[in-house]
């Protein structure tokens, strides 16, 4: 188990290719620092994010999962993020209902121009999840080495 070492969370960020992933690129090219705990997975659109992926991440030991997409109305595919918004609203509400800390999940709309927002969001989210500590309620212990 964890020793006295400072707790560093594992955070999975699903970013849509057109806005948020580009926002992350902009954060990078602007040299805006955010913790290395965040690992980005590129998806074509926020509507590609299956609740299964989010649960899978938690099951495999993620401490927080964030989904970032284009601002509502700006979806590259017109409506993808609207559907994603409904799905995530319901999923997160369910996780909350099961007693899983609400702060471990987050949805943020980040445009390609918002590198600063990307970095700020990730910094905040890492701080929040770090404060919550290790995710115990959602992980599958078999997958832990």
């Amino acid at each position: 188990m964890q020793d006295v070492k400072e707790f560093r969370p594992t955070i999975v960020a699903f970013c849509c290719n057109w806005c948020s992933y580009a926002g992350a690129d902009l954060a990078g090219s602007s040299r805006l620092v955010y913790p290395a705990d965040v690992k980005i997975i590129r998806v074509p659109c926020s509507c590609r994010v299956n609740p299964l992926f989010i649960l899978r991440a938690f099951q495999r030991g993620a401490d927080g999962v964030i989904m970032a997409g284009c601002h509502p109305g700006d979806c590259h595919y017109t409506s993808g993020n609207y559907f994603a918004r409904r799905r995530m609203t319901l999923l997160f509400s369910m996780l909350d209902y099961l007693g899983i800390e609400r702060e471990r999940t987050r949805v943020e709309w980040i445009s390609a121009a918002e590198g600063a927002k990307f970095a700020k969001t990730m910094n905040e989210f890492v701080a929040t999840v770090t404060a919550l500590g290790e995710n115990k309620r959602l992980e599958d212990l078999r997958c832990k080495k």
Partner: protein, 665 residues
């Protein structure tokens, strides 16, 4: 099992300074399936690509992972290189260790660890990658230009010149845009109308160009090469085909008191009007809000006068559906209304005007026939103060203005100052500036002429207060170089107001699914390398809608956009994105959940025969994806409960493999 090659790019020192590239190559070489792992200074260079190609050949690689910059940068480069070596391009994946690692992390150990994890995730994905083949879709050989200002005009003319059809949609009754309102142009001082109106006529006469004036884009469907656009032709109550533009109605209409927007409200027009003499199309428009006939049903004078019988009070808005292969946004700008700057007195003093208003006050076709007179008492102003950067270069938190430099104000103010001093040598002209910005061919020379030849007083400082006292504008300003506070009695104050994108741009961007920045300027696909394209395929940008620009720049960008459009329309077929949805018919329930979330109508259903148990056959309703129409968003894959619908290149298993690789600690 795949045979995977891993290539770690140093990107000079961009990556190598923060990530221990050798350690990453070493760590990833032990991953399952990795048969080759190396690092190199510049993977995207010719020799880097050669290195990759040789490795593909020598090690019989079936998959490639490049740990380098963002896939948005060089994914295509590496995929092309792999393809040349006979490897399916979609067997190449990128781990972004520059934007997501080296540029944002400082600690080498931490950055290296993250780079390894991202590399592992990409390897895990490649294990599940399958060779993909791109389909093709046809191209509608017609372009739509939204906006009929100089940007839209130039783009349309260039596209038409190449032999393709172009439609211009302009919301005003005439094309011409802002340039039509301008008096002279810098730095040559030729008359704007003299260079613009011939182009407008060219547009009108070009057989390939169709103008939808007084029209707006209502909806946009489809995708690159195959857009379907609904255009709302607003009722102008005049039959465009019948109206000869004789102008009789516009002279006789009894409703004379409508503020003339073309002259910035300095004079009036009739309820039926043609915005200006050289309007294209030269067709009258009835302004229903002011027309007595439309409001009360009594009058009808214009209909009686019109010998062509063009007046039609019962005309309705009309929706026209047209198909296009490419769309150009040329929605232009408006000057910021400076009414939030109370201290500058725009809302309270008639003689405080914006620069565009000054253009009309100086234009020979303007309300004063070109004689510069104060709006308040119609006298000659003798002392004129220009204020630069009104609403430009404000802090992002400042709600009164914009954070950007509007770029054109320094030059047009020099032009105004020069023209005034030329025409009225007895006038004192002061220009209060923060910086004078004149990068451009012959621009600084132009500004120096205003100072040296025309004696314009350029003062480094700003105006803090303008108040009117007995018809004089008391201007309080700072002169930073002399350390003085100046008090000038001025007759006219001209505000160089910021440019801002036209209000309609936001909703048009939404329809086009083109992205915008926080200032509502359209975002380009790449700030340096693809400046006239939107990230959305098939959408191009022309003029100020992309960022502040002067006329020469607008025209060059307009032609550049046209060149891009021509390049697209010249193709008979487009290669589609092969990362599209596909339905596994064995798993499909035919429940229609996917169809409901598809924005493109790419999913259809049919009854198909399947083999049932015990040699029976059964008929099931299953989904089929039209791969030419599908754009690969993946909405359907999540709507599908059975997992029958999956996305090529971003499959459920691929994404879960990435998740697993990232979470495996």
């Amino acid at each position: 099992m795949q045979r995977i090659g891993v290539f770690i790019c140093h990107c000079g020192t961009n990556i190598a300074a923060t990530v221990d590239v050798k350690a990453v190559a070493e760590a990833l070489s032990h991953e399952p399936g990795v048969v080759f792992s190396t690092d190199y200074q510049y993977m995207c260079s010719e020799s880097g690509q050669t290195l990759m190609r040789e490795a593909i050949r020598e090690h019989k690689l079936t998959g490639v992972v490049v740990c380098s910059c963002s896939p948005r940068m060089h994914e295509a480069t590496f995929r092309k290189a792999a393809e040349k070596e006979g490897l399916n391009p979609y067997m190449v994946e990128i781990a972004n260790i520059r934007e997501q690692v080296s540029w944002i992390h400082k600690d080498m150990a931490e950055a290296t660890e993250k780079a390894v994890i991202l590399g592992r995730a990409a390897i895990a994905k490649v294990h599940l990658n399958k060779p993909l083949k791109a389909g093709e879709s046809p191209v509608t050989k017609r372009a739509l230009v939204i906006g009929g200002g100089i940007a839209g005009i130039q783009t349309a003319l260039d596209i038409a010149e190449a032999g393709f059809e172009v439609d211009i949609v302009e919301k005003q009754p005439t094309i011409g845009g802002k340039m039509a309102q301008i008096d002279k142009t810098f730095p040559t001082l030729d008359c704007a109308a003299c260079i613009l109106t011939p182009k407008m006529v060219d547009v009108a006469q070009n057989e390939k160009i169709k103008i939808f004036s007084y029209s707006e884009v209502e909806s946009v469907k489809g995708f690159v090469g195959n857009f379907k656009v609904e255009i709302r032709k607003k009722a102008r109550y005049v039959d465009e085909d019948k109206c000869t533009g004789c102008g009789l109605c516009t002279e006789k209409c009894p409703q004379k008191k409508v503020p003339n927007e073309f002259n910035m409200g300095f004079d009036t027009r009739r309820a039926v009007y043609i915005p200006f003499a050289q309007a294209v199309p030269k067709v009258a428009t009835i302004d229903a809000n002011n027309c007595t006939m439309m409001k009360t049903g009594k009058c009808g004078l214009c209909a009686k006068l019109c010998t062509a019988g063009a007046i039609d009070y019962k005309q309705q808005d009309q929706i026209v559906e047209r198909e296009y292969g490419a769309i150009v946004a040329a929605t232009g700008f408006n000057p910021l209304k400076p009414d939030k700057f109370n201290e500058l007195g725009y809302s309270t003093c008639q003689d405080v005007v914006t620069s565009l208003e000054l253009e009309r006050l100086m234009n020979a076709a303007g309300p004063t026939a070109g004689t510069l007179l104060r709006p308040s008492d119609k006298t000659h102003p003798h002392t004129i103060v220009f204020v630069q950067c009104v609403g430009s270069r404000c802090d992002v938190e400042n709600e009164r203005g914009k954070s950007y430099c509007s770029k054109i104000c320094c030059m047009y103010t020099a032009k105004h100052a020069m023209l005034i001093r030329e025409k009225y040598p007895d006038t004192d002209v002061y220009v209060f500036y923060i910086d004078v910005r004149t990068p451009g061919k012959n621009f600084d020379e132009f500004y120096r002429r205003a100072v040296e030849q025309y004696g314009v007083h350029y003062i480094k400082g700003q105006v803090g207060k303008v108040v009117e006292e007995n018809g004089t504008l008391k201007v309080q300003a700072s002169d930073l170089l002399s350390g003085e506070q100046l008090h000038i009695d001025a007759d006219l104050v001209v505000l160089a107001t910021a440019v801002e994108p036209d209000k309609s741009a936001r909703s048009i961007a939404t329809m086009l699914t083109a992205s915008m920045d926080t200032n509502d300027f359209f975002t380009e696909a790449h700030a340096k390398l693809r400046p006239v394209e939107s990230p959305t395929a098939g959408i191009f940008l022309s003029g100020v809608c992309q960022g502040p620009k002067d006329i020469p720049e607008t025209v060059s960008q307009a032609s550049a956009a046209a060149a891009k459009v021509i390049g697209l329309l010249a193709k008979d077929k487009l290669t589609c994105n092969p990362c599209v949805a596909n339905s596994n018919e064995m798993l499909c329930n035919g429940c229609s959940s996917c169809e409901k979330v598809c924005p493109y109508g790419a999913i259809t259903y049919s009854d198909k025969e399947f083999r049932g148990p015990n040699r029976t056959t059964l008929i099931r309703r299953v989904a089929t994806v039209n791969e030419a129409v599908c754009q690969g968003c993946g909405a359907c894959t999540v709507a599908c409960p059975s997992g029958a619908m999956d996305l090529k290149g971003f499959s459920n298993r691929q994404i879960m493999a990435e998740v697993d690789a990232i979470c495996k600690m």
